[in-house]
């Protein structure tokens, strides 16, 4: 995981983040949700690309699908995060919108707060395990970074 562009932040002990659970941590002023999906860790920015809700406080759901009208099926229980405000769904494994995965443009971290591209994806971060610690890796700080995430701030 070591990379010159990334910086490690220990978040908690692995025992504190069992499968199916999450923690929200503020790392260098950025609020980040760390999820344990059946032993694999994922980290997403706690900030919805739609209107800046605290996304990672949202409900964990399955992926609800229907191959034809009214034929509901649910798969991947617990792997979809639904925004606590307007209900947009995101795939925790990719940070991508469930409704519009194809319109995603990959955006660099500094521009992800632009309002002009509301659809798309949430910033994700690599997560690793060091001994018994869960570690999230953030890009080294850029001078334009905001001091702190607050729900609803543009």
């Amino acid at each position: 995981m070591a990379s010159p562009a990334l910086e490690p932040f220990p978040v908690c002990r692995t025992a504190e983040l069992p499968p199916g659970s999450r923690r929200i941590a503020e790392l260098r002023g950025i609020s980040i949700g760390v999820f344990n999906l059946a032993g694999q860790y994922f980290a997403l920015r706690n900030r919805c690309p739609h209107r800046s809700a605290p996304l990672c406080e949202g409900r964990l759901m399955g992926l609800v699908k229907a191959d034809q009208a009214y034929a509901y099926t649910t798969e991947r229980e617990g792997e979809i995060l639904r925004c606590p405000w307007h209900g947009w769904e995101f795939d925790i494994r990719t940070g991508r919108s469930v409704a519009l995965p194809e319109t995603i443009r990959s955006k660099c971290y500094q521009t992800s707060v632009e309002r002009s591209e509301p659809e798309g994806r949430v910033d994700t971060y690599p997560v690793s395990q060091r001994e018994d610690m869960v570690v999230v890796w953030l890009p080294k700080p850029a001078s334009t970074e905001r001091a702190r995430d607050r729900p609803g701030d543009p």
Partner: protein
């Protein structure tokens, strides 16, 4: 704590302890659509005559009839206001401290206008006296538990519009309270609101400096006609996108019944109506009037001119066109700089925060949207205008 609930770690826990101070703010923010509610039926007991208290005890709070649809969020409110979808939302919907923290504090709202979300259940009851008693008790409860505790809260009165004489009595009883800034009226109604039976209500509003705030709800419930003239949709998403028709029906009624000729200082506020439909409506109304003017000769001016003078719209839920340019055109065509007012819809699931809403508008319009238009529209807020 269940394993899928968010837990805090590290410095986030410290962050949670910090008071939710608003960001450095110079703008006045007026939120025209906030929905408070009761925690329990017992809240109303002190404000009800004994026979109505007995009925409420025996039957519980009325609910919106059979067609109410499954809303978003948890039970219709923001999911981050509850710990889990299983938690009963009544306490959160009624939590003074939650509103203070998440709306006034976190969003920096200076004035929040409360529009009681149980209004629809109260005013779709056919029993005139019980309905009026519940409205009156709810208003008294609001004054005692919200307006009296924090003067950033104002309210629009819940009035039984289906019995205009009772609505007038309620306006005369409480309309003079300094925190009461309007009446809160739902779109579901046996009759269109421009019709002459409502004139006495508008006369009372004008006399007391109250706006008429119209908000969807109650369509298809109780005595009201179905939620669309073509029938009952199956899903909430349909009702959500079909809302403009309710407002259009009432707006055409106000225009062609001559309500604004009869009440030149009346202001009508459309809450949660969306607004991108407004330009097309204006054009079509003007076309109809030019051709058919002689049938309603008391309508003296172009309908669009009455709209400019008398009708205001709220921002939530924000229209999300494909481009900022498209939004700019809609704003220009509907004279949005003078007609749009910020609304959050807190604590409902489709809440909009003022900071992100402001970003959607051209910089020159933001102050008007966040406060300027509301200050001009609500007579009882005129005094708040800052130099």
């Amino acid at each position: 704590m269940k394993s899928d609930e968010p837990a805090s770690a590290g410095s986030d826990a410290a962050a949670a302890k910090r008071p939710a101070a608003p960001s450095p703010q110079t703008e006045l923010i007026i939120d025209t659509d906030v929905h408070h509610s009761l925690a329990a039926k017992e809240d109303l007991y002190p404000f009800l005559p004994s026979h109505s208290r007995e009925r409420l005890a025996e039957h519980g709070l009325p609910r919106l009839g059979n067609v109410y649809y499954q809303n978003g969020g948890y039970q219709g409110i923001r999911a981050d206001c509850l710990k889990s979808p299983d938690e009963d939302s009544a306490a959160a919907r009624s939590s003074f401290s939650l509103f203070q923290e998440k709306l006034l504090g976190a969003c920096g709202v200076n004035v929040a206008i409360l529009n009681g979300e149980l209004t629809a259940a109260f005013v779709t009851l056919a029993d005139a006296d019980y309905s009026a008693d519940l409205c009156r008790a709810f208003n008294d409860w609001t004054v005692a538990n919200w307006l009296s505790k924090d003067d950033r809260f104002r309210c629009a009165l819940t009035v039984p519009m289906h019995q205009p004489e009772a609505a007038v009595r309620e306006i005369e009883r409480l309309g003079g309270h300094p925190g009461v800034v309007g009446i809160y009226v739902i779109c579901g109604s046996p009759r269109l609101y421009g019709q002459r039976c409502f004139d006495r209500v508008y006369a009372a509003c004008v006399e007391h400096g109250l706006v008429v705030a119209l908000h969807f709800s109650g369509e298809g419930a109780g005595m009201n006609p179905p939620p669309t003239a073509a029938g009952f949709p199956s899903y909430y998403a349909e009702t959500y996108l079909l809302r403009p028709q309710f407002y259009q029906a009432h707006l055409s009624s106000f225009l062609f019944e001559g309500t604004f000729e009869k009440f030149p200082s009346l202001r009508v506020v459309f809450l949660e109506s969306g607004f991108a439909w407004v330009p097309a409506f204006r054009w079509r109304a003007d076309t109809a009037w030019k051709a058919l003017r002689s049938q309603t000769p008391w309508v003296k001016r172009l309908p669009s001119e009455y709209i400019d003078a008398h009708v205001r719209f709220s921002t939530q839920p924000m229209e999300e066109p494909a481009s900022a340019q498209a939004l700019g055109e809609v704003l220009e065509w509907m004279h949005g700089a003078n007609s749009l007012m910020f609304a959050s819809d807190f604590p409902h699931w489709d809440f909009d925060a003022p900071a992100t809403v402001a970003q959607c508008f051209p910089a020159a319009m933001r102050r008007q949207v966040l406060s300027g238009n509301a200050l001009q529209t609500y007579p009882k807020l005129h005094g708040l205008a800052r130099a």
